[in-house]
Symmetry: D2
Subunit: 387 residues, 4 copies
């Protein structure tokens, strides 16, 4: 069943399995004229690359190849296809547990759907987080396009276990600086506490859950469509489509579900001649439409399922209960690596809705838009790790 | 922009404004042969009807008319259109506040999108909760179709403010019995505490947030599609498309985001010769695919925005800050009335994915399916309020 | 299966059966601010109305009702729903032939798909040409929107049997004048010959095929998308979706399929400083994209299937071969009545592609666009039959 | 704008430009379990390969690579991606005529849409017939899937200029044998006449139009959906999306548009206990639904635009009129090379509608289906050219 595409006007289709030759993405709907290089994409891929400090030991350069849609360094209005080869693939472990599915991975439901003989069980196959590299590649294109209108998307780590951020970043710069943090955390103190916690968790062979927060700056009002394609609805879908994500919260939605109306006290005010929401308690979206305030939401991730502890399962060849043990190092907190994926998915939804509302042409970019792209994309570049 | 349709094979399109002549829905993708009467639909509409105890005083009979797609009491494979006339419409209040938008209603973003001269501001226009009557009508058809495979969807009130359910209903009957509760609560003690709380809130002219929980019984494994159309993703979109809903949580997702992996301890086991998940911590969906266990998720709603307290806003004709006051009685907790809407949206997504996976034909129903529909639909009927 | 919607940004969904209470259409994607009255729609519906000279004797006023999406005479950005009640419905004849399907009507394939017990066989049910009234209603909205950019769509009768138009109308006025012709023919001499032919055909109890030609004036270049959504491809789908239409031809496509390249001799030239195609042999679309020249194509219709002559079929209750006879008067040439339907389908596709390319906003219309609408819509009104 | 995808359940997305590194296709919706090898795809690609007798001199091996969706020789339910590298690319000629667009190629409309600075003008870029290699690759997968239900699709040459086929092939074998003909012609005498004609045309530096006919055998009744997604409508769109195709005709549609109803004389009869249409005049589709008879339609192609004769155009750098001359050999009749493309597009539409009607699962294939695939696919293999 076709479930591998997302978007109406900016349409992203990913393909590839964890242990196949490559993962990739076709991006349909990119207007002509966008300067796009391999490095633009690689910049973003490096932020989710496995093999970094404290994360999974799979070593991939994640060097992307743009194989269609770009000519002389600029897009041509045709589908942009980006592929990322899989290199560091070791499948032996998955042969051993092929018939002993892990309870919190998708392999068993996939066996039920596609047949145990057909499904590519190696490394999670199509359900692997490896697929999210393709999303990040598409997100790079989406973010660059959003620069045409000065829209900046930033995701960062909000919490790990009980350790939680106290202050939302208030400026684009503070937010973007999280790109330089090894755990994508906007607060230097918190960063240290999270690093200690993650080390402790990893050393004990355990894992831990976490939360990713996202801000979108400079959003024009009126994005989203009433009823089913509300902006909050499309964001929720995109975010819940990320492996390991189990909840989505707009603004202070969960806290508000316990509050009284009188405690909220939002107001419309005039500031510098512009209509504004005083508190922006609903995260920049009201009635499903953007208000022009900063969009803010959270994505909740479960702990990594693979821990160094016996896991109870069933041997599908004998239908007897058994236990398996996960070997090697593992990524103790998927929320950390999910940060650039959340950012990418947000950008993909935003650019689609910007196109739907006519803010970005689907045919070609204007000179002013190209100038804006240069200005705003340099911000992302400025806050990118070297190498 | 077209945002008024949802679904790939079972496609629901709603139309109509709060103070226009009617609201309605076109349901495309209903197979031929389904017995469908006005009463089937009315049964469900009565559960969300305004004018009930403790809710908004707008009095509507919500009597539906099926105006296409049914012949001799059965569907014919053509779009089923259901209309519900608006009768109890008083627009004067909205004339008074036309240029003084309420901060937590969609009117101001809608003005920004569509133009202040065009938008139908009366009662929220297209963004009104009145539109959800059309969704409930479509949900009745969806739920009846799901009966073909014995799938039962039940939503109920999980919490109001801090008052929270302690035990998830474990059987279809216990769950369905909530349909008879004035506040859709599965626990009689809790029901009384919630009723007291709501009375107190209403008397003080305030409002309060709440949470709706949903269970889906007898789900076949393998529903949902990897990557973007994961079942959890499509559910999240559908739920977040409901007015006032600000968060979605699959299973114990929020709690799990604070836990360590070692605390979760899920296992695959064999029970009665069938593969099962021992704890079902992830709410029946893993890797985005249904596991065959009960699907469980929560929808978080903000407090009703309208309270008897001055609200600060801006007069759009003068651009001066001002205050408005909401008059009359109001519904103190939208979560209560949202229960049947959440149920309807869940059923719509489920039937679409059942069709995508081939469990329900989009052409015509079989005799066995018709028998199942009779059996399972009688359960919904059994637990429906008289009148 | 959902097959009742068309369009990406301007999305039309029709509903209703020939002998049900009504037919109707939901039009999603209409921007706010468009002046729209019942009379705008009725104007167009009258052009296809049954009961006119030489056509089917079913007498319907076809008075439309706009039941959503319009407030104070203007659209609000919400779905516009238009319904047209069925009044002159006599179903007895269809009871008689219920189990004796006509060979060139869709009833038998529909029985095979939906079940002979479920399908609404009265008057063709959902497959009846009655459904095209809903398309014409949507076409009225589409044509009015196209006026925002000065785009004018005109369909007319190109041939009946062997009697064929010799000269394509060259101006908007000549083309629009066909709206006043009883057989939608742009050439007065031809009109008389066609009228005689139709009379003769009808008197002999026979029917006859015909061809409808369409011109679109003032089309901007670059409409359509490469590969699958080429403008010619989307037009072909829309036109072939009309009952009785069996072929689509862009420009002089059929003649060109027999020609040598050297005979064609198209050239790009400069006229008044603008790039033009000298001959426009390909009907204004090259590479699937509009060129800015007049779009021109033909739709080929079979003869009306119902003739006063015994028709051989099978009695489905006995599986014996039998004959049936069609009673009463009938429409001798469906091509004549298809003219406004072709025009409507063309307008629907064009406005969708204008929106895709950013020529018409999906949020709201500008003042200049509203002015243009007034100017160009008055042309359609000018060439409309009184009453 | 996203126009590079086609299909609802079986969704094909192509990418790549004529002179870029590759062309390719992502096929979403392939059920798990289908045996699929590079050779299955190559078999079909060889039928459209450039460099064959009498066709364009570009020499490509067209060796495909399946880079996702297949594991151990079978599909896994994930998107199948196939890439075909471009090797024999010489762009110099296109540099020379970059600013002198050919009147019947899409370059000038593409310049107008995407900007003359952005568009990849080399070899037609995205609009090149090279893109159709990706369609043929997808068609191989579609045809193999159709074998699960015994459905066989065959396209062949119907006419070149005035030289026309007289007898429709009546059996699968006669039809499939055309795969072995250098001009895909089912009649040996006609083949010789066409070969002579093409030689003469080519020697005179000219080109010529042609028509492709398609038959689909063993189609179940009831495919297609009423109203917009009629089977004839979806076929027309798919066929008109092929470069150079200007008309589509179902059955004897064009001839019927000139006939009287009394001349047609179709009948429903019983043959071997099965309801049949005696003449199948409408090409196996009535009311937009398949009847179970052989589907038959024609696609009309213009002559190749490139001929050895001065072509009049405008120099875009000076806006002066000028002439260009096409160099080298060229393919005199695109209809010949379009044959496998028409076949592929037909198969893609058919498999999508088979899935929509539930004839082929989108999750996994059954054992019986796998057996059928072996049986019927061997027919295609049997009638394939060696090497």
């Amino acid at each position: 069943m076709p479930g591998n595409s997302l978007g109406l006007l900016f349409r992203v289709t990913t393909f590839g399995e964890s242990h196949g030759p490559l993962v990739g993405v076709v991006i349909d709907g990119v207007p002509a004229g966008l300067p796009l290089s391999k490095d633009d994409v690689w910049l973003e891929l490096k932020l989710r690359r496995p093999g970094q400090y404290l994360t999974s030991p799979r070593r991939e350069s994640d060097e992307p190849d743009i194989v269609s849609g770009v000519f002389n360094g600029r897009t041509i209005g045709s589908p942009v296809t980006i592929i990322i080869r899989n290199r560091d693939v070791v499948s032996q472990y998955y042969e051993d547990i092929r018939f002993k599915p892990r309870p919190l991975h998708g392999d068993l439901p996939a066996y039920m759907k596609y047949g145990v003989d057909s499904w590519d069980y190696r490394g999670g196959g199509r359900l692997s987080a490896r697929e999210t590299a393709a999303r990040v590649a598409a997100g790079a294109v989406a973010k660059k396009l959003l620069c045409a209108r000065g829209v900046i998307v930033v995701s960062y780590l909000y919490s790990v276990g009980d350790v939680e951020l106290e202050r939302t970043p208030e400026t684009v710069d503070v937010a973007l600086r999280t790109r330089l943090s090894p755990v994508k955390c906007p607060d230097p103190d918190l960063e240290q506490r999270i690093l200690s916690l993650l080390r402790e968790v990893q050393e004990s062979g355990d894992s831990i859950g976490g939360v990713v927060e996202t801000l979108v700056f400079n959003v024009p009002p009126g994005l989203g469509d009433p009823v089913f394609d509300k902006l909050k609805a499309d964001l929720a879908k995109a975010i819940l489509s990320i492996p390991g994500c189990l909840a989505f919260e707009l603004g202070e939605g969960i806290r508000m579900s316990k509050m009284r109306g009188s405690e909220i006290d939002e107001a419309i005010i005039v500031r510098d001649g512009v209509l504004r929401w005083e508190k922006n308690v609903q995260g920049g979206i009201i009635g499903g439409l953007s208000t022009g305030e900063i969009i803010k939401f959270r994505a909740y991730f479960k702990p990594t399922s693979s821990i160094r502890k016996p896991i109870r399962t069933v041997d599908l060849e004998t239908y007897r209960e058994t236990t398996i043990t996960v070997k090697g190092r593992h990524d103790p907190c998927i929320a950390v690596r999910a940060v650039p994926v959340v950012e990418a998915m947000t950008a993909i939804i935003l650019v689609d809705h910007m196109m739907r509302a006519g803010y970005i042409s689907t045919d070609k970019l204007t000179l002013q838009e190209l100038k804006n792209i240069e200005t705003y994309w340099s911000l992302y570049r400025k806050y990118s790790p070297k190498s």
